[in-house]
């Protein structure tokens, strides 16, 4: 078999190109091998509220544990005060890729440290 004559730059490009292509193909092949088709499972996590300009911003993390992506995710976060009054905030995410997470914030007038926060995905759709 004839070996093409190449200079250093060409061999370097070929080496880097081969490494990138192989890494991509191997990664995708392993991902495809392990891939199980499961519907989106959206879990919501809440972070520590921060007081800002007379309101309280609460970090929200949405995580999709399924292998199918979810789109148009509506998240509702509820703050229930000790008196029983409820304040609701919503967050909309365009999409959530499989097994990945996105972060956002919701805002309340009431102080979350004086009540109870709860969150749920109100709904989402398949792409």
């Amino acid at each position: 078999m004839k070996t093409p004559r190449k200079n250093v730059l060409e061999w370097l490009t070929f080496g880097v190109g081969t490494a990138l292509v192989l890494a991509t193909v191997v990664f995708l092949a392993i991902s495809a091998w392990r891939f199980e088709d499961t519907p989106p499972v959206v879990e919501i996590g809440l972070g520590t509220p921060q007081a800002r300009h007379g309101r309280f911003d609460v970090p929200v993390t949405a995580k999709n544990r399924g292998t199918q992506p979810a789109e148009q995710i509506e998240i509702e976060v509820t703050l229930k005060s000790a008196s029983g009054a409820e304040e609701r905030a919503t967050l909309h995410l365009d999409f959530l890729a499989r097994q990945s997470e996105r972060k956002g914030w919701v805002s309340f007038f009431g102080d979350p440290s004086r009540g109870t926060l709860s969150a749920r995905p109100r709904g989402f759709q398949a792409p």
Partner: protein, 286 residues
């Protein structure tokens, strides 16, 4: 990957400056042909939404197209398979690198993203960039081009070679609109009569390009000696456009949940730009 003067088997390594010029042309071609895709939102989301197997198939199909383009237009006809394969790997590697850099600078790929999302986003863009790199390296040079296009021993245009180039042309042209919502909207709304009209317009425009307008390269690369060859040329070009359109639509998930009639409508709608690529695009990239 010396192709400015399409190369046969080389006995000596080319000077570094010559290789650098070719890579520069390749980078320019990669950017030029894939720019609309790099700036299109639906393409970014396909990177997240497509399954690993679909992405893997896309890489495989793109590599076969690269091999075909390099075999029939990018390099001289007497280039060995090893040379064609090496060039194709280089171009795909450059495509991945370029797509990753541009997506990072555009903020579409970030270090906080999971690896699967990064790989998906880059792969979706990189394949078109790679074909652009190949076309750019071969076609954007200022030097003379030997062995321009591929002919069989009889002197007539090489049929299988022209078919491969027609598919490459169709992919390059149709890829710019294939992932957009607009294709879906059009396909959903137009009547079967209008779909038939689009088929007729595709064939008419293609016949003008290939046979009537003295288009660049048409005298050399299109067989036109008999009525049969004109019909054959139009039919194979449209077949290339249909196949390329169907594969791209499948990759971008447009067939998921679509009825058979919507699927056909989607293919016909996309095959119009595809047919421009399979006729005009094909002549311009060889």
């Amino acid at each position: 990957m010396v192709k400015s003067v399409k190369k046969s088997f080389r006995t000596t390594a080319p000077p570094l400056s010559e290789s650098a010029q070719e890579y520069a042309r390749g980078i320019a071609g990669g950017m030029l042909f894939s720019l609309p895709l790099l700036y299109t939102m639906e393409v970014w989301s396909t990177g997240f939404l497509a399954s690993p197997l679909r992405l893997l198939a896309y890489v495989g199909i793109s590599f076969v197209l690269l091999l075909g383009y390099n075999r029939f237009a990018g390099m001289r006809a007497d280039s060995s398979f090893v040379e064609v394969a090496i060039d194709s790997v280089e171009e795909m590697g450059l495509g991945i690198l370029l797509a990753a850099v541009v997506l990072f600078l555009l903020g579409r790929v970030t270090t906080s993203m999971p690896v699967s999302e990064i790989v998906g986003s880059v792969v979706v863009e990189a394949m078109t960039v790679a074909i652009g790199v190949s076309v750019g390296t071969a076609q954007l040079g200022g030097g003379s081009k030997e062995n321009h296009g591929l002919r069989s021993d009889s002197g007539n245009p090489h049929t299988s070679g022209q078919l491969v180039l027609a598919i490459c042309g169709a992919v390059l042209f149709a890829a710019n609109v294939a992932p957009t919502e607009e294709i879906l909207v059009i396909a959903r709304e137009i009547s079967p009569a209008k779909q038939l009209g689009l088929v007729a317009l595709s064939l008419l425009v293609s016949s003008l390009i290939l046979y009537q307008s003295n288009f660049t390269g048409s005298q050399k690369h299109v067989r036109r000696d008999e009525g049969f060859w004109i019909a054959f040329g139009l039919a194979t070009s449209y077949a290339a456009a249909l196949v390329a359109s169907a594969v791209m639509l499948w990759f971008f998930g447009r067939f998921d949940g679509a009825s058979p009639s919507l699927s056909v409508s989607l293919i016909v709608v996309l095959a119009f730009p595809g047919m421009l690529g399979a006729s005009a695009g094909r002549l311009l990239i060889q």
